[in-house]
């Protein structure tokens, strides 16, 4: 018996920025090129971390690269993102980060002062998140071949008991919770570049969401069916992926989605949808309807979760898509991010 060669469906002639934006193009690249070659077949729904069974012990493992420009911005920096991003990917896959390893790609000519500041940021973020940085690697490329520095972190985590996260666990009637206001990170980075004559008192939301995830797990345990940190591509992209993976419809109430006025204002001016803007310290959780209130209370009682909200629910329709309804009864489909309005935000 011969195994059929994996079918490569990715036909784009070259890599574009959009392939790294976390939206539709990224998904096509993964489903059409990486998965068939690396996994040999269409993958199971892609989570934020892989769960690997080693001699009967299940661990979660993930990796993430950071190429944000500028390196520092109000509320954070590339070093903090690199730690929190991986801790959060593990957290929303239902795992507590135990150890990280880090790889630096540095551009020759990078001032030591900048490097040291980022290494210190990483140490501080790791201490706050309660994770050990256990090892690393450094490469240097010629001046002009990279933009100051890129950081990759890989993490391993222990599964949080009682949690079982999967799109397959999502049921009609489940409620959708959001840990806090959206869009702060993406808009902060956009403004920090100084290319727009716009100013706003905004900070990136980068942080570890592990305390909030643990509070949720303590409160409702297996009542949590699915989680995701809506980074690149924003809430809209994460929920579209869920809708696609579980085959159900997601209905959001626009007025319940927490968004700061500064973010709304910038989005109005720039023609962006806040639902497509990246976050670095928020997560979405789908929770069984009867436990939604307890889950929301648990989030709101945890420091940093005060602005958590119930933003919608899962239904049969529109199958595989996300529908946003307004207070006055209008509705619209919200698709995944297409293209790349804000490149290199994390």
């Amino acid at each position: 018996m011969t195994t059929a060669a994996p079918k490569i469906r990715f036909r784009d002639p070259q890599v574009e920025m959009a392939h790294g934006a976390g939206g539709k193009a990224s998904r096509r690249l993964i489903d059409g090129l990486f998965a068939p070659i690396l996994f040999g077949s269409a993958p199971a729904p892609l989570g934020d971390a892989a769960h690997i069974n080693i001699n009967g012990t299940c661990v979660a493992m993930t990796t993430d690269s950071f190429v944000v420009r500028p390196l520092r911005f109000p509320g954070g920096s590339i070093g903090e993102l690199a730690v929190n991003g991986t801790v959060n990917d593990l957290a929303v896959s239902g795992a507590r980060a135990q150890a990280l390893v880090v790889s630096y790609v540095l551009e020759a000519g990078l001032p030591t002062e900048i490097l040291e500041a980022e290494v210190r940021s990483m140490a501080a973020a790791a201490a706050t998140a309660g994770v050990v940085i256990a090892g690393g690697d450094t490469k240097v490329v010629e001046h002009g071949k990279a933009d100051q520095m890129y950081i990759t972190t890989s993490g391993i985590g222990r599964l949080i008991p009682g949690l079982s996260i999967s799109p397959a666990a999502v049921r009609r009637g489940d409620k959708i919770l959001l840990s806090g206001p959206i869009g702060d990170h993406g808009i902060t980075i956009l403004l920090a570049r100084g290319e727009l004559d716009l100013e706003a008192d905004l900070r990136s939301d980068t942080r570890s969401v592990l305390p909030l995830v643990e509070a949720l797990a303590d409160a409702v345990g297996a009542g949590v069916h699915w989680m995701r940190d809506p980074t690149r591509g924003g809430v809209a992209t994460s929920l579209n992926e869920l809708a696609h993976d579980c085959g159900l419809g997601i209905m959001l109430s626009e007025d319940r989605i927490p968004i700061r006025d500064e973010v709304r204002g910038a989005c109005e001016l720039l023609g962006l949808d806040p639902l497509h803007i990246a976050n670095e310290g928020q997560f979405l959780a789908v929770v069984a309807a009867e436990q939604a209130e307890a889950a929301l209370d648990a989030l709101r009682e945890t420091p940093g979760g005060e602005e958590a909200a119930l933003i919608g629910e899962v239904g049969e329709q529109p199958a595989g898509a996300v529908l946003v309804t307004t207070l006055y009864g209008g509705s619209r489909i919200v698709d995944m991010l297409v293209g790349d309005p804000l490149p290199r935000i994390c």
């Binding site: 079918k7 469906r9 036909r11 070259q14 890599v15 574009e16 920025m17 959009a18 539709k24 193009a25 998904r27 096509r28 489903d31 059409g32 290319e195 727009l196 579209n240 809708a243 696609h244 006025d261 709304r264 204002g265 109005e268 720039l270 023609g271 529109p318 199958a319 595989g320 898509a321 529908l323 309804t325 307004t326 207070l327 006055y328 009864g329 209008g330 509705s331 619209r332 489909i333 919200v334 698709d335 297409v338 293209g339 309005p341």
Partner: protein, 381 residues
């Protein structure tokens, strides 16, 4: 948020929608054209069609600058940008518009210097900061954006910035409306008039639509309440058998327009004898070019422009959709070969294009899903 939330107030919106239902004659079918792509976008984004009775049909008009630009002009602009030491600058919505050999973003991925800007003055700033480069601004838009291009050119001349030029694709709205009305397959009862354009040109230039074409027109703002209120005003006119130009968007549109902006435009631009519009063909005196006195900053005078003409793919029905003859989903390519990710026609690119708006916000509400990740047929499984 001030000046926004007031116009999205649920109770007022519900009340206005009730008023529309009360005013609309159930025995009659109404076709209202919203001229401006910004309105099309708002209508879908806020789900306003859900609030209207089924006998009020909104027809999407030609007021989307990216959508009416023929592919040849994009090829022309990109061919200049391919020359050494040229930086190509344009608004974000130009970036994914396909030319024959790719969109500006694809050129950028291949190494060309392509920058997104938010104002023409940013392009001039890039020219000042990059004296070794020639910075070309690919200017598009109706009278809404033309004044800022004009002011930027005036500043470039005043400051003597020589490494800057504008590839001018500015068009004017009135000839486009006239072309729509002259089209034999077009039946429109009334117009929701363009808001942003009118902040510059005012309300007078629309008078002929009421007096000679016998159609009401209401200049409207872009928030849900603005659009619904303008529909109320149109229905009241029709019910009273009146034909007038009315201004719903008084908070932004002065009746006489913006004299300073018009003066700047007159200083820098003159009418082209004719210009090609995608879907509408050649329309006389419908576009602006840069006057000879600003010739040094005119890309078309400084570089040799090939003057490419490209016919749209035969199967694409952009023209019919642009004129409102077909609904986006009635085009053979809609959602199949032509998606926001792989647009065949420009209507699928700009967020103001009716196909993109319909695709993004509407079509899956009603149509059965073929796939959540529609792939062009050429990539089909």
């Amino acid at each position: 948020m001030r000046f926004v939330d007031e116009f999205r107030e649920p109770e007022l919106i519900t009340r206005t929608a009730d008023e529309i239902r009360r005013l609309a004659d159930p025995m009659r079918h109404y076709r209202f054209m919203e001229v401006c792509g910004g309105h099309t976008h708002s209508i879908y984004r806020f789900g306003l069609k859900d609030l209207l009775p089924s006998n009020i049909e909104l027809v999407h008009g030609p007021g989307c600058p990216v959508c009416v630009l023929p592919m040849g002009r994009i090829d022309d602009g990109l061919s200049i940008a391919e020359q050494p030491n040229v930086m190509f600058t344009a608004f974000g919505d130009m970036m994914r518009v396909p030319g024959t050999h790719g969109s500006p973003l694809e050129y950028k991925a291949r190494g060309m210097d392509v920058r997104i800007i938010y104002s023409p003055s940013d392009a001039l700033k890039l020219a000042r900061n990059n004296p070794e480069k020639h910075v070309m601004f690919f200017a598009i838009g109706f009278e809404t954006t033309a004044p800022s291009t004009a002011l930027t050119l005036m500043r470039a001349r005043a400051e003597g910035v020589r490494n800057f030029s504008v590839f001018c694709n500015h068009v004017t709205i009135i000839p486009a409306i006239r072309a729509i009305l002259d089209s034999p397959d077009m039946r429109i009862d009334a117009f929701i008039g363009p808001g942003h354009v009118s902040t510059v040109i005012g309300c007078r230039p629309y008078a002929w639509i009421a007096s000679h074409e016998d159609k009401p027109i209401v200049i409207a703002g872009f928030e849900p309440l603005d659009i619904l209120q303008s529909i109320v005003m149109l229905l009241r006119q029709l019910n009273a058998n009146e034909r007038r130009v009315e201004n719903q968007y008084k908070r932004a549109v002065p009746w006489e327009g913006n004299r300073a902006a018009l003066k700047a435009m007159a200083e820098v631009f003159e009418l082209r004898p004719y210009f090609e519009w995608r879907g509408l063909g050649f329309i006389s005196q419908s576009a602006l070019r840069i006057r000879e006195s600003y010739g040094e900053w005119d890309t078309e005078r400084r570089f040799s422009v090939p003057g490419v003409r490209v016919t749209d793919p035969k199967a694409a029905q952009c023209g019919e959709v642009l004129k409102g003859v077909l609904k986006p989903a009635q085009c053979k390519l809609f959602g199949k070969e032509c998606t926001p990710e792989h647009p065949v026609g420009a209507l699928m690119v700009s967020s103001e294009g009716s196909c993109a708006a319909y695709y993004n916000y509407e079509h899956r509400k009603t149509a059965a899903l073929t796939s959540v990740f529609p792939l062009p047929a050429s990539l089909g499984a």
